[in-house]
């Protein structure tokens, strides 16, 4: 694995290897007072964030630090980026300064792909820094999908054969895209539930099914993942009102009761309580939302480990 750009690039063996590694790292750290492994000592990881983010940036930084890497955060504000420097020049600068890995979040879909291509083209060594996609536009967020998968494995025992619902603004969701691809690769049956205005034209080609009525789908689900509905969508005419959205697609206590006993509730955060998820559901033991955050650190440690520590490749 040279880069992590899309979960679509992961075969089942590689995805499972990442999840197994995350598990082993979690066990290795369990009960330790000092959360520090020497694995990536001397490696330099730069986080390049062109969008505000708390959980993802913190999670990557903790993951790097727990493996003794040197981690540096660059935010688009307060750097030469705000002076109009191109993404390519910023990338070349970071590579020349010695970054082994660049974690990028960017509002443009595909920005990490460009970064990876430039790195390999411009570098004197023939390959640039490893690139990790930490969320690009409305494209993908692969480590989010991996941490969701880790959480589902913890809660459900396995993923193959399970039915997972993803509910909400699919069109604008990078979490949805990464999850659909990864969960399908891992053998799950994925059902998208959303108002038709929030499903992209072309969704029929995705490895999943589309359902339009949440109540009808809930009893058959092993897990349901609620997507955040961004405020600006409400003014875009995608649906009539927040109230009507919550009635049609929000996860209320009544709806929680429609889920099977064992089913898990996930949310990538940040949540809009009262919109896509009711406060009581968010705080219920059925919700694995904080477990997702915890798993996020281990999954990102596993990704960095496989990208930077020369971990054995899986032959697909």
């Amino acid at each position: 694995m040279r880069h992590l750009l899309s979960t679509g690039d992961l075969d089942a063996a590689t995805a499972n290897l990442l999840l197994d590694t995350a598990d082993r790292l979690k066990q290795a750290l369990l009960g330790r007072e000092v959360h520090k492994l020497p694995t990536l000592r001397g490696r330099t990881i730069v986080s390049l964030f062109y969008e505000d983010s708390t959980r993802t940036r913190v999670s990557f930084e903790i993951a790097g630090k727990w493996m003794s890497a040197d981690t540096i955060n660059v935010s688009a504000k307060g750097s030469s980026v705000s002076k109009g420097e191109s993404l390519r020049d910023t990338a070349a600068t970071l590579a020349a300064a010695g970054a082994d890995c660049v974690i990028i979040r960017h509002p443009a879909s595909g920005a990490p792909h460009r970064l990876a291509a430039w790195g390999d083209r411009d570098s004197l060594e023939g390959h640039g820094p490893a690139v990790v996609n930490a969320g690009d536009g409305t494209h993908e967020h692969p480590t989010q999908a991996l941490l969701d998968a880790a959480t589902l494995r913890d809660r459900l025992g396995s993923i193959a054969g399970k039915r997972i619902g993803i509910v909400g603004d699919v069109t604008h969701s990078r979490v949805a895209r990464s999850n659909v691809l990864l969960l399908a690769t891992l053998g799950a049956e994925v059902v998208l539930v959303a108002p038709p205005t929030l499903l992209p034209v072309g969704v029929a080609d995705w490895p999943c099914r589309v359902g339009l009525h949440l109540d009808a789908e809930l009893p058959g689900l092993d897990a349901v993942m609620m997507l955040r509905v961004q405020a600006e969508r409400m003014h875009g005419g995608f649906f009539p009102s927040a109230r009507e959205y919550a009635i049609g697609y929000g996860l209320s206590e009544r709806r929680l009761a429609l889920l099977p006993e064992h089913a898990v509730v996930l949310h990538p955060g940040p949540m809009v309580r009262g919109m896509e998820i009711s406060p009581a559901v968010a705080d219920s033991p059925r919700a694995a939302i904080l477990a997702q955050v915890r798993n996020g650190v281990h999954v990102r440690m596993a990704v960095l480990y496989h990208l930077l520590a020369g971990a054995p490749e899986v032959q697909g």
Binding site: L87, A111, E140
Partner: protein, 441 residues
Amino acid sequence: MTMLIDLLIKNARLYGEGDPVDVLVRDGVIAEIGPGLAAPRDDNDTENDAEVIDAAGLVLLPGFVDLHTHLREPGGEDAETIETGSAAAALGGFTAVFAMPNTDPVADNAVIVEHVRRRGDEVGLVDVHPVGAVTVGLAGERLAELGTMAASAAQVRMFSDDGHCVHDPMLMRRALEYATALDVVIAQHAEDPRMTSGAQAHEGAVAARLGLAGWPAAAEETIVARDCALARDAGAALHVCHVSSARTVDVLRAAKAAGVRVSAEVTPHHLLLTDAALTSYDPVNKVNPPLRTGADTAAMRQALADGVIDCVATDHAPHPAQAKDCEWAAARPGMLGLQTALSVLVHTMVEPGLLDWRGVARVLSERPAEIAGIADQGRPIAVGEPANLTLVDPDEPWTVRGAKLASLASNTPYEGMRLPAQVVATVLRGRVTARDGDIRK
């Protein structure tokens, strides 16, 4: 000093048909056509011997006419100038190009269009016909002085807000009505902007997967349908720029059958490339309208063969490296087209048998000249006609290298692609403007 010497083209097959013949050009006009012609020689003045081109195995066509070129001057000289764009045109086999008005300042008045025309004449490699803006500043709010531009020394025959759609239906209606008195054509960039806000790619499976905001084909189809109704009522000539959607063809077919004065062009890239190329996120493939699906390219080819789409126009739209070597959303739409147009047309239309060389002459020369109403281009290869000619080697494939193209910009989606057919020589009113890949000053 710039006395026109005679030109003798030996053993060319006109329109790729029949036995090879010789074509003698004198004073910019085709003087003789027949076997075994010889140029008159003057032993005391060998400097003025006729230029002889051995055209054995080559196809002679009327000079190409491009209704849709962005020469970028004034204002965008880091991507192209009238001089470099003219060179690219001549090397691509063109003897006339129509320069779109989205320059800086916009070509929405007589001063700018006359400047563009004059610069084209000074360079002298290709007839540069400025296209005038339909609305002031391309803002879509009020009509530009179409009459003044038409009556100016630039003799503007075609008006377009290309890059922008004249989307206000009442304004478009007025433009079409007004144009009828001037006998000019309104060329529409058909894109309903209310449906394409933020659009980055053809709305479909690829864009959905890549997380790129979709440009629905309906945004083109609805404007074309609306404009056909407006042109019908006004009795005006409407030209549809860069058709990209299969269903737009259905709209055009119906309108033509109903007698609407509508013509349409397709770009080489919409004949060849599809949105499958987008998975690398490399913005060399970013263009407006966007690359669509294989079903769309197939429909474009068929419509061009059937004549529902009248002609090929390049939409040659150079951008400097920094406008393409960036993330997809930040990149400018547009690609080079002048030097690859013939080869792409041969690859997509001639090789599969959808078009013969007579058809190539129709879609690259005769129809565009007719649509724009220019009398001295797109003429038959016959005695007494102006010698605007393009000589093509149909059997010589080449590999596209952006850095070797004449345009200032060098980014191209065809980089490294092997394409059939080369332009061997281009002749503008009897003068060789390009030969064997080199410009003749």
